[in-house]
């Protein structure tokens, strides 16, 4: 099974929420990381045929999903971000309704719905009305409805929103067990949610996939750019304002240890640290808070390599910021195209 986007674009007025995206997804779990407004939800809706692209297509095994219609939607499970529900429905009735929409009826639907309620830890609340549910319980119900039809393609938009740590672990286990032989895409802002279960991470920015790779590998791009340095605690605010700080830890001796992402050694006592996904995320999205100084630097690198702004330049143009990012080895084509299948 191969889900592919071809120059997929969705534009709202002048705003390109998804910008000429070419990705190919094969079986596996994909973590879609991106800041607010990066275009994750829009991309997912396009993949679910809930919105019509302004340009480009989505293909399943070479066929347009529009023309596949029911056949495609029969393979699909979708948890929307902040989904709607019927407050007066009981949880089990809600699932049975969605099951009916998915073509499941009778005993099979009942069995499946009850099984999923069990799996998301809501079996005791099966007969409770949804309006009495907490945010996290509703979210778990949403996860359950997405999985009712054993979807081959499961698309979850910020599935861990509102889940407590125990439920997050349960969710991760559920998805890990479920994902075999399927395409699972989950978007999040919370890096730790996808770090352990996603086989591949897609970093989305301004409607484009700017980075992709296995969780352990893709951080290598910023290896040599993550520093830890101790400063007097009272100076912390000043440094945080000036630098791309991914973490800040107060020590007992009155000093603060900053974790800084910077191309050059930020201060004489700085020591190199092993980058993690959070650092990578910050590396891409920090400029939205700091006014774009870094994006200009990075975009100028991208421009120098001939890639469009927002694209990452590929490794062979020699730009240091692109280290380890692109090229066929990591699955990202030079034009920003990324072939999930190639990563394997």
């Amino acid at each position: 099974m191969e889900l592919k986007t071809v120059e997929l674009t969705k534009q709202y007025g002048k705003k390109k929420a998804v910008d000429c995206m070419n990705i190919t997804l094969t079986e596996g779990v994909y973590g879609l990381l991106g800041a607010n407004g990066a275009g994750k939800t829009t991309l997912m809706r396009l993949l679910c045929a809930l919105q019509r692209p302004t340009g480009g297509r989505v293909l399943l095994d070479g066929q347009g999903i529009g023309s596949l219609g029911e056949e495609y939607r029969g393979l699909l499970g979708y948890l929307p971000q902040g989904f709607g529900y019927y407050p007066n429905f009981r949880a089990i009735d809600f699932l049975l309704y969605i099951a009916a929409l998915k073509g499941l009826e009778g005993k099979a639907a009942e069995r499946k719905a009850r099984g999923l309620l069990e799996e998301v830890g809501l079996s005791r609340e099966a007969k409770h009305r949804i309006r009495t549910f907490s945010g996290g319980m509703k979210q778990r119900l949403g996860i359950a409805q997405a999985m009712l039809n054993d979807p081959r393609i499961l698309i979850l938009d910020e599935p861990t929103t509102g889940l407590d740590p125990k439920e997050r672990v349960r969710f991760r286990n559920l998805i890990s067990a479920f994902s075999k032989g399927r395409i699972v895409i989950l978007s999040t802002h919370i890096v730790s949610d996808v770090e352990s279960i996603a086989e591949r991470i897609l970093v989305m920015k301004s409607g484009r996939i700017v980075h992709c790779g296995r969780p352990g590998e893709i951080t290598s791009e910023i290896r040599g750019q993550v520093w830890e340095c101790a400063i007097p605690a009272e100076q912390a605010d000043r440094y945080v304002a000036q630098m791309n700080v991914s973490n800040l830890r107060n020590e007992r001796d009155g000093r603060t240890v900053l974790r800084v992402i910077a191309g050059d050694k930020p201060m004489p006592n700085a020591e190199l640290a092993e980058p993690n996904l959070e650092d990578l995320y910050l590396y891409y999205f920090r400029e939205q808070d700091t006014g774009g100084g870094q994006v200009r630097e990075r975009d100028s690198l991208a421009a120098a390599s001939g890639a469009a702004p927002g694209h990452r330049a590929s490794r062979d143009n020699g730009a240091p910021a692109a280290e380890g990012l692109s090229g066929e080895a990591s699955g990202c084509g030079r034009d920003g195209e990324w072939k999930g299948g190639d990563v394997r």
Binding site: A49, L50, G69, L76, G82, F83, G84, Y97, A100
Partner: protein, 356 residues
């Protein structure tokens, strides 16, 4: 499909606003019925009565003259019932004593309460059967008002059928296998079925109440020999009360399904139920606000729209077709057309809906 329709019906009738609107329609209907009944007045042979006693008195008078209307009977009624003009010179036609008296003076009296010289054949053109029709005709009038109210309740009920999903559940429905196909159809069918059910329910309640209050007398009598208020500008051709109720039932049902057709389209096209209610109510009521006289040929077209079907009297007043059928039967093909377009268009709009 049946399962999906079941869910849609459950959603439809589960909404508080729908329940409130339907309850209001029922209460209004009950109010009309009760107040009409309590306001009944009759005086005969020195006796005066109101409410149920007036009904009994009217029936007693009607029983004396029931049967075929002849010139002989007209003269007898004029002698026995017709009041003479009062001291203020009030037109005798407008003096009301009881239903039979009002019926005979409406047709056969001059302003002084004397026979106007017209014969039965001249007034009605054919033989008619008379009796106690005031009860059924009053009930029919009340039903018209009730159905007008009900048509708005139907629009309130159907407004969220599609637009109610646009608040977020559309994401789930439209991404599901049958969301754009069977579910869209089930919604439209459930909406139409719900409209028919509530209309049939209202009809049954009203007819039942009329039967209890006025009895079954008069169903085979002509509507033409009725008190003045049900003579001027009323349905001008001879049918029995029973047939009248049949046409009213038919037109209220056709009115309900085409009201549903319009309501469903606007539900699918509007972003929120509130906008859908306002839009569909406006579309529904607009024909009655147009400056078109009832004598104008354009009115003959307007009268076929759902709002007039639900009110029925204006449409029935447009006379008969050449074949002797009421002009109002044209509402049937019109309704079928509106229903078909409403069904197809609403599900199409929903199926093509893009989530926002």
């Amino acid at each position: 499909m049946r399962k999906l329709m079941g869910y849609e019906l459950r959603k439809l009738f589960g909404r508080r606003l729908t329940q409130a609107a339907l309850l209001a329609a029922v209460l209004f209907s009950a109010l009309f019925t009760v107040s009409t009944y309590q306001n009944k007045y009759a005086s005969y042979g020195g006796r005066q009565a109101s409410g149920g006693e007036a009904v009994a008195l009217d029936k007693e008078v009607a029983a004396r003259y029931a049967g075929e209307l002849t010139d002989e009977k007209v003269r007898q009624m004029m002698d026995e019932l017709a009041p003479k003009s009062g001291p203020q010179g009030l037109n005798a036609i407008y003096l009301y004593q009881n239903a039979m008296q009002s019926a005979v003076t409406a047709r056969f009296s001059d302003m002084y309460g004397n026979w106007n010289g017209l014969r039965v054949a001249e007034v009605f053109g054919e033989e008619i059967s008379i009796g106690y029709v005031d009860g059924w005709l009053s009930a029919s009038r009340d039903m018209e008002k009730s159905f007008l109210f009900l048509s708005f309740a139907i629009l309130i009920m159907l407004a969220p059928v599609y637009s109610g999903e646009y608040g977020g559940v559309d994401n789930l429905i439209l991404a599901s296998r049958y969301g754009r196909t069977k579910c869209a159809s089930a919604k439209a069918l459930a909406g139409i079925l719900a409209a028919v059910l509530v209309t049939a329910g209202m009809l049954a309640c009203n007819v039942g109440a009329a039967y209890l209050l006025y009895g079954r007398e008069g169903l085979d009598c002509s509507i033409l020999f009725a008190p003045l208020a049900l003579t001027e500008g009323y349905i001008p051709f001879n049918i029995t009360c029973g047939a009248l109720l049949g046409y009213q039932a038919l037109l209220s049902l056709t009115g309900a399904v085409c009201t549903a057709g319009v309501g469903l389209v606007l539900s699918a096209a509007c972003r929120t139920p509130m906008i859908a209610v306002v839009a569909s109510a406006a579309v529904h009521i607009v024909p009655t606000l147009l400056p078109v006289a009832e004598s104008s040929p354009l009115f003959r077209l307007l009268a076929l729209l759902p709002v007039y079907q639900m009110q029925f009297e204006a449409l029935m007043s447009l006379g008969q077709l050449k074949a002797g059928m009421p002009y109002a039967v044209l509402a049937l093909p019109v309704s079928a057309g509106i229903l078909a377009v409403g069904y197809a268009l609403s599900r199409r709009i929903f199926a093509a809906h893009e989530v926002a």
